[in-house]
Symmetry: C2
Subunit: 152 residues, 2 copies
DNA sequence: GACAATTCGTTAGCCTGCTAACTATTAGCG
DNA sequence: CGCTAATAGTTAGCAGGCTAACGAATTGTC
């Protein structure tokens, strides 16, 4: 029994910490009627201008079908616009609307607040270390499983 | 413009790393027909024996309504059993079935494999640091937002 | 130029998160 | 004792993850 280091491990802390982070972020954004992922969409559009859905999904590291519904809601709420791409009729270009501008300003405020709360008590060096370690774990898991035991 | 350190920050890395982790875990568990959260339920039951739903939700750090549906599916699949508590008719005690035993053994295998992959190239000290830093961030976000700006 | 392979967005179906609101039961307090 | 408050589990409704599969359009190849 008690091979049960199982849950007191990296995966456990990743899970609960990320959950908390999203919860705090979403709570902070409630007054502006948007969510964490929606704020991220506006962030990328602010940074890069118009993007196709595939490009946006790539930057957000989510699958295209997941993005579709996020954009559906944002389009419904008038935060973004889908425009057919003039050179490739398969693509649609996503752009932020004028209505989203003031929302984006609020998001930046919120993001700063949450980050300050999240990193309270951590030195710059510790924050850098945390990012570096997370980056390594992420990279480790990026590869498809080696299927090394397929012949056992 | 470019207050957009926004997404190159802790929240970003937390999000993508955790996503990857869950994806890897779920992928590895597909052959056994269960998911990450279901495996966690079995883990807690293996460790603690019968638990009420509120206790289980507390240990898993999720809300009771979220747990209900997870348990519904597991009960449907014969992995757990809900038993009325003899001393409190509101409570239900959750227990693992005999059918879940071999599944649990497989989970332990998978968990070890994923963890090994995730922490590849990290020393024990680095893993401890990662857990410690995640723990601090989690703790920072645990408190309800101070509502310090409510009067502005 | 025609046909196969690929890419883009979408839909459907499943699992997981949350809050709000409800029922049933228990606990607490006058 | 009796009434209120709190607790356990559930349901409904919304947002977000994924895969599989599909139609439309483009790219690649012979």
């Amino acid at each position: 029994m008690l091979d049960y280091d199982f849950d007191e491990s990296i995966g456990y802390w990743l899970t609960v910490t990320t959950q908390r982070y999203h919860r705090a972020f979403n709570d902070a954004l409630v007054p502006y009627g948007i969510t964490f992922r929606q704020s991220q969409v506006l962030g990328w559009l602010a940074l890069e201008g118009e993007l196709s859905q595939a490009e946006l999904a790539g930057k957000m590291m989510i699958e295209p079908p997941t993005l579709v519904r996020i954009l559906d809601r944002m389009e419904r709420d008038g935060l973004i616009r889908r425009r057919p791409c003039p050179t490739d009729r398969r693509r649609k270009l996503i752009g932020a609307t004028a209505k989203s501008k003031p929302v984006w300003a609020k998001i930046v405020e919120c993001a700063k607040g949450i980050r300050a709360r999240a990193t309270d008590g951590l030195t710059d060096r510790q924050q850098a270390t945390l990012k570096k370690l997370l980056g390594r774990v992420h990279e480790n898991l990026l590869l498809t499983p080696p299927t090394e035991l397929s012949d056992r």
